[in-house]
């Protein structure tokens, strides 16, 4: 989990300096990290679903029906 968080943070350029944010979030910091990972994974899931949809597939389905 920690590794996934760090990977995502490096990719998104967030890891450079989050001391102030960490201080403001305080005890909720781990919850914040978990929420960020969940948000990003869901976003990537939908993006993957939508982008793999081939144009024209539904036209063929329509013709067959």
């Amino acid at each position: 989990m920690q590794a996934t968080c760090m990977f995502l943070f490096v990719i998104l350029g967030v890891s450079s300096s989050v001391r102030g944010a960490r201080a403001e979030f305080g005890a909720s910091w781990n919850l914040v990290l978990a929420l960020d990972v969940i948000n990003t994974l869901i976003v990537l899931f939908y993006l993957w679903r939508i982008w793999r949809e081939k144009p024209g597939t539904r036209v063929i389905e329509r013709d067959r029906s």
Binding site: L12, F25, V43, R58, V59
Partner: protein, 460 residues
Amino acid sequence: MGILSQRRNQMLLSAWSAWFVNYLDRTKTAALLPLIVASLAMTKQQTGWVLFAFFIGYAAVQPIAGFVTDIVGAKKTLALSVAAFSIFTWTMAMVDTWDQLLIRNALFGIAQGFEVTAGSRLVATWFPMKTRGRAFAFHQTGFTLASVVVPFIAVPIAQAMGSWRWSFMIIAFFGLPVLAAIDHFIVDRPERDPRVSQEELNYIFGADELSKKHGMVLDPAKAHSAEELPPGERITPYREIFLNRSVFLMFWAGFFELLTNWGLITWLPMYGFQQLKLPLLLAGSLSSAFYIGQFVGVVSGGILSDKVFGMARTPIWLLGGVMTSFVVIWAATFQQGVPLLEAYLAFSLAGFFISWTPIGQLFAPYLAELLTPGAVGRSLGVVILGGFVGSAVAQPLIAKLIIQTPAGPQYWPAFVMFAVCGLLTSVCVAGMIEPRVGRTYLGYLFSGKKSLARAAGQDS
């Protein structure tokens, strides 16, 4: 079975939700700005650069966004936009310095810039001309409503959780149901969606159009014959899109309109506080009056265009620019002690009439009818670019025009500039071809309503 059983309305509601969350996301930064400035110890100059970064990111990406929308497809472009701004929103909760915020705000602007071309293209493709004005008016209510409600969402979250960062964290999740709706309800074209009934296809394209032979070339600039294109499209070469007098004039109309729009919205609370000597809360409420006026303007403009002006779009814009000038000149006379109700009325009317201009409403129906729905993304990218350049230059221009007097700052020179911009918007619109009559709308009126409709779109 209600109105939502129609696939086109499900698509419209999904596109609306993307536009609503897009605006909620972008306006929350302004609503939370006092807290962010204090938290990151930002100077006024740094704050200005952070806000400028969003506009520049948004403007710069418009021509690219238009191409991506038309070539890759509106659904994928819309999903890309919502996905990107959902992620950038939570990364903005992590910033520690103003330059980190600046970079993320620019990226955020780029991500958000892809939404408007995609949403517009979808409405233009899925709705027939007779209801396109009203459908797009509904789509545009997304930005007016979001602007009104954002202080009641972003600020209470920050207050309840003790930090502005939580507002960003929580609002980042608002994009997820929108992505689910895009995945489930949006298809680029109606005839490609197996859930669309034959009856609905007949409604969208007309039985005559559907009975013709159609092909699979989705780019109207690449087709060689009408038979290669899907229903509702016509061959539109690049020359006709980019060397088009009406698109060129729309670019400039957008420049003058958004200069006025964003100039007023940004400076209105400061004007109320400094010139009218209103308490800060009441000065801020002038913006709410402006947004409420915009909401009513967007809805009424779409209905009037479809029902009263016989699907002509430019008459609404002609009136909008001129009336904006009158209202702004009226507001320029206000001084300390002006009745609050009079100020509310003036600024709600300003919002109302500014929404009756080419980037406020009806731009997707207009470009679809002037060119073809398949070229809306590319042409709109050019037009919105003009508008956002106007938004960016508005800020330093207004700052220079405010006069310092012993009684305090006076804003009337800026208001005079807004009035001139309103008139220039109408002048640009007066030169644009009205597709419904095939000539400029004033030309149509002065010629005794002689339509040249067969020449529509041939004005390049």
